[in-house]
Amino acid sequence: MTVSELATRLDLKVYTGEQSTRERCVSGCYIGDLLSLAMSKVQMDSAWITIQTNMNIVAVSSLADGACIIIADGFVPDDSTLEKAKEQEVIILGSELSAYDIAKKLAELGI
């Protein structure tokens, strides 16, 4: 499944990521808010669900080669985070749902 389809199916808010970059495939998911843990646990092409909103999440997702970041519980990324994400072509999505509810839906979709 592509990030675009995922965003549509889960009705996610798209904060950053051009349509073309959202054609990237997603498989797997990691949930967590500690950067060092995420760094080693976010696998290539997986979605990372977090409530962190500061710009360091961009470096982590980009260095770990994650497919996208999904910010849970309605938290809103900082402006500096959005700027950095655009620059690094990192996709940031958002949802009002909790990490658990997002993950359940990802599982239903077979991700």
Binding site: N54, M55, N56, L63
Partner: protein, 142 residues
């Protein structure tokens, strides 16, 4: 590629916003040079953790990266407070990070253990009051 490509970076100590930038640049370079994705990922993780440590614990420093087809050698040097007990610092979960830093998601005490896990050679040379030198080698060959 018998010859070595040498990169040098200065990491500023007060700039959280730019932490990870050097690691991103090196990652891009390695991708362009055609290194295997697993190798690139190991370098990116190990370097990021070292870079973050220089920013949050040591007020910045320098990074030298030597790239050859056989291995990637990363030397990170700072003039920070040094590490009094390296064995303790290497334990998962040990951290002296401040609450401010923790709120940003740093300070899980997993940095040095991650570096150990993702590198093939890791050497710490540290002196209290003088600084820390971290040398990491990642083999590029299968």
């Amino acid at each position: 590629m018998a010859e070595v490509m040498k990169l040098h970076y200065v990491v500023s100590g007060d700039d959280f916003t730019r932490a990870g930038e050097t690691s991103s640049k090196v990652k891009k370079t390695l991708n362009q040079l055609g290194f295997r994705p697993e190798v690139v990922r190991k370098v990116a993780i190990a370097m990021y953790e070292g870079e973050i440590n220089m920013v949050i614990h040591a007020d910045g420093g320098t990074i030298d990266v030597d790239i050859s087809s056989d291995e990637i050698v990363i030397v990170m040097q700072d003039k920070g407070p040094g590490i009094p007990d390296v064995e303790k610092a290497m334990q998962e979960g040990f951290s002296t990070a401040s609450n401010n830093v923790r709120e940003l998601g740093f300070g899980a005490g997993m940095g040095l253990p991650n570096i150990k896990k993702y590198s093939d050679v890791m050497e710490i040379d540290t002196q209290v009051g003088k600084g820390t030198k971290l040398r990491i080698v990642i083999y590029a060959k299968e």
